[in-house]
């Protein structure tokens, strides 16, 4: 005989349903945190050239913007595209543009020294 009244405070949503919800909630909170970080980094990017442009040299500004862009791209790739949870080979396939980027930089630098 099935007895559905084992949990005296059971209103139909047993404890077993709370775990998937809390796992989903944790993921949602992480995504919102990443989103807020991305928003803040975008805000920083706008103001690096404008507010501080006069004080920082062109090279510093370029480096700062590049670092900000790479960090933002990395966050999207790792957390929104779930690359941090993927298997090794999937990640190595995803890094292909970076390998090719290095190859292109080497080829360009070589051609400058002809």
């Amino acid at each position: 005989m099935e007895d559905h009244s084992t949990a005296s405070h059971d209103d139909g949503h047993g404890i077993s349903e709370a775990h998937p919800k809390s796992a989903g909630q944790t993921k949602r909170q992480m995504y919102v945190t990443i989103f807020l970080i991305l928003g803040f980094l975008t805000f920083l990017e706008i103001f690096v050239p404008d507010v501080y442009g006069a004080e920082w040299s062109g090279t510093t500004k370029m480096l700062l913007l590049c670092i900000l862009a790479i960090v933002k791209a990395g966050l999207v790739a790792a957390y929104f595209m779930h690359l941090n949870h993927e298997a090794k080979w999937t990640r190595w396939i995803a890094y292909t543009p970076i390998y090719m980027g290095f190859a292109v930089i080497i080829i360009m630098l070589e051609s400058l020294y002809r």
Binding site: F35, A69, K72, V76, A94
Partner: protein, 217 residues
């Protein structure tokens, strides 16, 4: 072992589950294919951006982008695309949780973000063309600019805009399926939503780089 578990007990549909081989990875064929496509597409954008970098570096009279382009409006568009990435990842979660209402809601919001982004790009293009920045020749407020400024700007942002448009169309197709309940059946049925999510996040990622190198630098 989780790799064996990943080979789901499919009911005739062999397209979305991983192979039953302990040495095989956990990713479905679709996911690997999408990553390979993203890697290739990333190299296309990389080629365009490197070419832009070289042309700009060797030019002597390149205008300061902030003087010609609308940074404020484009910054809002960037933020909008990041918001749409958030709604996209919520949609993927909703598919995994078999919540059809949320899936439809978040897919719709993602599409809306993409459409507004395209609208902002279209507005910016018409405004720039009106000011004289063309694909072949560039001038701004009567002053002649390095003609490559307009060429590279439209080539890079236009190529990206086409990706946003394709993504919106792709998302709409997935939305139609989502409204029919195809992706909230549990197991690997939510996989197509994850794949469109990967493409959409890639589009956002590329824009983050394009915005930095073309507009801000």
């Amino acid at each position: 072992m989780s790799t064996v578990h990943a080979a789901t007990e499919s009911h005739g549909d062999h397209t979305e589950h991983a192979a039953e081989d302990p040495h095989f990875g956990k990713a479905t064929g679709g996911k690997i294919a999408m990553w390979m496509f993203i890697a290739q597409d990333g190299m296309s954008f990389g080629g365009l951006l490197f070419a832009y970098g070289v042309l700009r570096a060797i030019a002597t009279d390149w205008p300061v982008p902030a003087d010609v382009l609308g940074i404020g409006l484009t910054a809002f568009a960037t933020f909008l695309l990041i918001c749409s990435s958030l709604t996209m990842v919520f949609a993927v979660l909703a598919a995994q949780e078999k919540n059809q209402a949320n899936l439809v809601k978040y897919l719709s919001l993602t599409i809306l973000g993409g459409v507004i982004f395209l609208g902002i790009q279209a507005y910016e293009y018409t405004h720039l063309v009106g000011e004289g920045v063309g694909f072949v020749n560039s001038s701004f407020q009567g002053e002649q600019l390095n003609s490559l400024f307009g060429t590279t700007f439209y080539a890079v942002t236009g190529f990206h805009g086409l990706h946003v448009l394709s993504g919106v169309i792709y998302l709409t197709c997935i939305l139609v399926g989502a409204m029919k309940g195809k992706y909230t059946q549990g197991g690997d049925s939510g996989s197509p939503v994850e794949l469109v999510g990967l493409f959409w996040h890639f589009v956002d990622l590329v824009w983050i780089l394009v915005f930095t190198f073309v507009y801000l630098l």
